[in-house]
Amino acid sequence: MTSRGTPSRFLQSVLQNGVGRYVCQMKRISLIFSKNGQSSLGAREFIEEGVVDFAQKNPGTVVYVSPQSCRIPKIVAEYLNGNVKEEAITSKTSQQIAELITKLTNQSGLDIIRIRKPIHTDSPSIQGQWHPFTNRPLSIGPIGPQKQQAN
């Protein structure tokens, strides 16, 4: 689809994050996996080795581990702005799952859609936005080309 047909947003941050202190935007992560399925093998390995380190390194994120009988193991990440992101981790290795989780931790919860401009500023103009009257002598009446000064 074209960029006009798909949603887009401007570059922004949640609650001006980073202007004051930086707050990790992921508040909750749930690992749903199965105790006996082959697709959850990577998930089970990650839980054995990596999840406790991850939870210690990110004290601001609550990690829930829920073994259920499911065909597709999932990671459900919830962010401070209310967005919930689900990722399937079927047949992924423990390493891949660790990378995926770091990627999710570093995201803000804003939608992953086209960003219209890679920039944002609150003070777009320091000397004043140019308009057609800038640097023109004051005049009331019809506006024509300025007379060239004799050099």
């Binding site: 202007v19 202190r21 909750r28 829930y64 609150d122 004043g128």
Partner: protein, 341 residues
């Protein structure tokens, strides 16, 4: 049951999967196209159209929720040391206690055997509100020294208003942790919960840390906001005349500087304000009066130091909680003095 035996004989031939729910009930599943699926889906959609979406459930009633862990994560996420009891008390609202008592009475639970031992957050709330208002006024006065007290009051009341505080609280996950009678949490309750959290922070870590917290989360909401969005001034020209006479500067004379399209549907007039024959503010408008009012507002913004191109406030000074005074503003004040004009 006879049908059960007939079905189980067809297992190998027709590929039907049967499993016993109990000795007399047999459930069959086939892997072919499910002829009932379309009718069922359409029925459920029709039901959804009639009844509307199911009511939203609070996060605490969805799976995977551990209140104590969530509260701990809340305080470490914000890099603050809250005392756990104070923080948990801050989240408990009186409406919740009321509804819990009624629920226990309705269930017939004796009030002595299962007493509700939960403290209110009313006291923390009032403490937090007082502290917030005083901190924000101090910050405004330090950042904009020439802003009159009416302006300071306007900015502080905008920052402590329901929309702003609830926006901040919702994006800090306070709504998940709030204990209130209704869901979705009404604005009032969320507002008082946020202030109670500030009060709890003030009691646990002291006024300085609470001040830094307010600066990082409430004051940053001023970024990108114009002064007159928050402070509604009815007569900017009158206010400007007052300000200039206080500073012993000549009174402003409005003059039409530029105009274009005077007879058209979209006329444009630029009005400049001259004090002692020197231009100090100019602004456009659709009519001459609108342009004059806008020019008065531009002049006021320059005087108070709230222009769009001012030096941004310093949010990284950890030691001075009130932030440093902007030096560009001092330069502008000098420009306004009688000597310069």
């Amino acid at each position: 049951m006879a049908s059960g035996y007939i079905v189980s004989r067809g297992v190998l031939t027709f590929g039907i999967h049967c499993h016993h729910v109990c000795r007399n009930v047999l459930l069959t599943q086939t892997r072919e196209k499910k002829r009932w699926m379309k009718a069922y889906t359409l029925l459920m959609e029709r039901k959804l159209k009639i009844e509307g979406l199911p009511p939203p459930k609070p996060r605490s009633q969805k799976p995977n929720w551990d209140y104590h862990a969530e509260v701990q994560a809340f305080s470490s996420r914000l890099k603050e040391n809250f005392s756990p009891e104070l923080l948990k008390t801050a989240f408990v609202n009186p409406c919740y206690i009321q509804s819990e008592k009624e629920r226990r009475q309705a269930l017939g639970v004796d009030s002595e055997t299962a007493a509700l031992v939960l403290g209110d957050n009313i006291q923390l709330n009032t403490q937090g509100l007082e502290f917030t208002k005083s901190f924000l006024s101090d910050w405004c006065r330090a950042s904009f020294p020439s802003l009159p007290s009416k302006g300071v009051v306007a900015i502080v009341s905008h920052l402590t208003s329901h929309p702003v505080v609830c926006h901040v609280a919702r994006n800090l996950a306070i709504e998940d942790l709030t204990m209130s009678a209704q869901f979705p949490v009404p604005d009032e309750v969320l507002h008082s919960t946020f202030l109670a959290v500030i009060g709890a922070l003030q009691e646990s870590s002291g006024a300085e840390r609470a001040g830094l917290f307010l600066r990082d989360f409430l004051v940053t909401q001023l970024v990108g906001k114009d002064l007159f969005e928050m402070w509604s001034v009815v007569n900017p020209m009158g206010l400007l005349v007052e300000e200039l006479s206080k500073r012993n500067v000549a009174l402003p004379e409005p003059r039409l500087t530029r105009s274009a399209g005077a007879g058209t549907v979209l006329p444009l007039y630029f009005v400049g304000l001259y004090s002692d024959k020197k231009l100090f503010a100019e602004a456009p408008g659709e009519t001459v009066l609108a342009a004059e009012e806008e020019a008065a507002r531009v002049a006021l913004r320059k005087i108070y130091g709230c222009t769009e191109n001012r030096r941004p406030s310093n949010f990284s000074a950890a030691e001075e909680k009130l932030g440093l005074l902007p030096s560009i503003h001092q330069q502008q004040l000098k420009d306004m003095s009688p000597q310069a004009l």
